[in-house]
């Protein structure tokens, strides 16, 4: 134990920070680029340490605490964990159908989360790269720069996000660490004055979301060749779809397609997800690599998230977003649907879909109903799957007869995307690695590729040019040729040449 705080003036206002498994350290994105004999990019490894031990926190805890507790696992999309855990525990309680009020309140909460998350990602984190160009001045390329050059766009971004947070607060009870969703239902519905407050602004939100789709489209029109080529690769994909094949971000069956677009499984009951996907372990990574069982660990990796959802669904059940989906799919002969940066366009279509859904739900009297809870016959296990802002999120629990969780398995969106992110970074490294030296330009392009997936990594919550990154280039013989670290000031702090290549 240390005592130096005791000598500080007003020590009672200071806090000791114990670094333990409960408080997570903010991570660097760590990338290793492996070269072949002729110094061409052979493989890229993205090292992610953030998802270790999730399951351990939950084991031994009473099940009714889990939907609230899991929100502490990830500060980036707590609501998605809240809902996925609730869905899993609905199943464990044998609740097959929620009351209409509970289902609609949960959906409202979910669409609020999609809206605020997509708005945050696009306006705060991605729009600076896109608006100013990848090669522009880093000092300008942040939300402050956007606010200066495009005040209207920045303002809309802030207000869209705020609106989404309000929806979350009213449905979940709090903006963060809400408790609204409980196993078997919800604990509150919307009061008339809450509904009225949201209704007042929702039409504006729908309109602004539409503008945002238009804005990405315009950006693609201006930079089509560059955007389309950036980190491009063909990927398989997985998402939930509704029974009629339409997009449903809250509930549905699993649909998967291979790189050719051929259907691998469709409307698959996620309660048995382990029949179709498995997780591979690699010695260099803490994060698992999920794959489609039918294709095997080598060729079975897949992608999740907005781009997959928008391209794999048959339609979007809200009219404005569906129109935008059709435009997106048809644009330039469909070329954008395979582009890594197509994620941004798809993400804004989903934001519009979320806004439209919120509008419809706000007009539905069920959201002010009082029948909140359903019951059923208890099962031993439960699986809950939801399409979180970043993609498919799986929660799976086994609960013993004393009500304690004895086993938990979580597959988060970023884990599904693990291989795809590695591949995208590899493609970018191939494109932008010039010689065997790490440059600022390379770091920035790696960053843009990682960010397109909107991974829930703490490193990815930084503005562009500020993502803490460690990159190493390793030669075919295993020696480090070049290594660079960049800190929050966006500087390449050290480039150590371990061995010059002759």
């Amino acid at each position: 134990m240390t005592f130096e705080l005791e000598t500080a003036s007003a020590p009672e206002t200071l806090r000791r920070v114990a670094i333990d498994p409960v408080s997570r350290v903010e991570g660097h994105g760590k990338v290793t680029i492996l070269l072949d004999d002729s110094n061409r990019v052979h493989q890229v490894r993205l090292h992610i340490v953030e998802f270790r031990g999730f399951e351990k926190f939950i084991q031994g805890r009473p099940y009714w605490e889990v939907p609230v507790m899991v929100q502490r696992l990830c500060g980036i999309c707590p609501v998605s964990h809240h809902l996925a855990a609730s869905k899993a525990l609905d199943m464990m309680l044998g609740v097959r159908q929620l009351t209409p009020t509970a289902e609609k309140i949960r959906r409202l909460m979910h669409y609020g989360q999609i809206l605020q998350s997509h708005a945050l990602h696009f306006f705060h984190l991605a729009s600076p790269d896109l608006l100013f160009g990848f090669g522009s001045d880093l000092a300008q390329r942040n939300i402050v720069g956007v606010a200066a050059a495009h005040p209207e766009i920045a303002r809309k971004g802030v207000l869209l996000r705020k609106f989404g947070q309000e929806v979350i607060r009213m449905t979940a009870g709090k903006r963060v660490h809400g408790t609204g969703s409980v196993p078997g239902g919800v604990n509150k519905s919307l009061a008339p004055e809450e509904r009225a407050a949201l209704l007042k602004d929702i039409y504006q939100m729908v309109a602004w979301s539409r503008d945002a789709v238009g804005m990405v489209r315009q950006l693609f029109e201006q930079n089509l060749a560059e955007y389309n080529a950036f980190g491009r690769f063909r990927a398989a994909g997985m998402c939930l779809v509704r029974s009629d094949g339409a997009m449903d971000l809250y509930h549905g069956g699993l649909r998967a397609r291979d790189v050719e677009g051929k259907t691998l499984f469709d409307h698959f009951d996620y309660g048995r997800y382990w029949d179709v996907i498995a997780e591979d372990v690699k010695p260099w990574s803490y994060m698992k690599f999920p794959f489609f069982k039918s294709l095997g660990p080598e060729g079975g990796s897949y992608r999740v998230g907005p781009l997959t959802r928008v391209t794999q669904c048959d339609s979007i059940p809200t009219p404005l977003a569906d129109h935008e989906r059709e435009e997106f799919m048809a644009y330039d002969g469909g070329s954008v649907t395979g582009a890594t940066l197509g994620y941004h366009w798809a993400r804004m279509i989903e934001m519009l879909h979320a806004a439209e859904n919120i509008k419809d739900l706000l007009h539905d009297d069920d959201i002010s109903g009082h029948d909140l809870m359903a019951t059923g016959t208890r099962q031993e296990r439960g699986v809950g799957v939801i399409e979180a802002p970043r993609g498919t999120l799986i929660h799976h629990y086994r609960v013993d007869e004393n009500d304690l969780v004895i086993r938990a398995n979580l597959i988060v969106s970023t884990t599904h995307n693990n291989q795809a992110m590695n591949t995208a970074v590899r493609e970018v490294a191939k494109q932008y690695l010039d010689g065997v030296e790490i440059t600022e330009g390379l770091l920035n392009h790696i960053e843009i590729a990682i960010r397109a997936f909107d991974p829930c990594l703490s490193c990815a919550t930084h503005a562009l040019g500020q993502m803490p990154l460690e990159v190493a280039i390793v030669g075919a013989d295993g020696t480090v040729i070049d290594a660079a670290t960049r800190d929050h000031r966006g500087l390449v702090r050290e480039i150590q040449k371990i061995r010059a290549i002759t």
Partner: protein, 234 residues
């Protein structure tokens, strides 16, 4: 009428009443954790420490005397209380954001009352397994503050002796269950027992209720703990 002074205010009392009883009846809050109006004082948490004529004493055990001059919510005393609260927080595993007792918890409410902003000390992270054996009640010892109220309630009201305090030291001392297996399931404890609803923190919990009442609509969400003493005074 007997009178003593509490922070300059006249507090009437009946002979035999403690400073805590008289103050509470008069609507004045003295911070406390182990005292409960229905039971004899235990005098163990020391949060109710006041200064009487310049000397420290526990308000919950101290008999009121005419003419006493009692200091209660002074900066000096509240600073000490805050430090004691910080010790309570680090000795157990209190994670308010995911605790189902949040909003109904006396420890949390007292920490808000005393404006405790952080635990300040190193966390102990004691290993205290839960007892989920009982069909209706969960015991999560992670949050126990050793107030002994459950021991007293079970013994005096329920006549059952389900709980006992035992062990030594900060990490050794804990609540024991009086059954051969040490499990609650093997006692005659019932959800209807007084002891089942006495715990000021989140140890003794009705199972499967959890977050049925939303955060924001709970006891201490409505008004601070000190205001509730005032509201309840006759």
């Amino acid at each position: 009428m007997n009178i003593f002074q509490l922070d300059g205010e006249d507090i009437p009392f009946r002979a035999g009443q403690t400073v805590m009883q008289a103050a509470t009846r008069h609507g004045v809050y003295i911070p406390h954790l182990c005292w409960h109006p229905d039971f004899a004082a235990h005098g163990s948490c020391k949060l109710c420490t006041v200064k009487v004529n310049g000397r420290f004493g526990s308000a919950c055990t101290l008999e009121a005397q005419p003419g006493m001059n009692v200091e209660n919510r002074t900066t000096e005393l509240d600073d000490k209380r805050r430090t004691m609260l910080q010790m309570f927080f680090v000795e157990g595993n209190h994670f308010c954001p995911s605790c189902e007792k949040s909003g109904n918890c006396a420890l949390q409410a007292t920490a808000y009352e005393l404006k405790m902003m952080s635990p300040h000390f190193d966390m102990f992270y004691p290993d205290r397994p839960v007892d989920a054996s009982h069909p209706d009640v969960l015991l999560d010892f992670n949050r126990c503050i050793m107030c002994s109220l459950c021991v007293t309630a079970s013994r005096e009201v329920d006549g059952k002796h389900v709980f006992a305090m035992g062990g030594r030291g900060i990490l050794g001392r804990r609540i024991h269950i009086n059954s051969e297996s040490g499990k609650l399931a093997d006692t005659d404890f019932a959800l209807t027992d007084r002891a089942a609803s006495i715990c000021p923190v989140g140890v003794i919990l009705e199972k499967r209720r959890g977050f049925a009442v939303p955060i924001g609509e709970r006891k201490y969400d409505k008004s601070p703990i000190s205001a509730q003493v005032k509201e309840k005074a006759p």
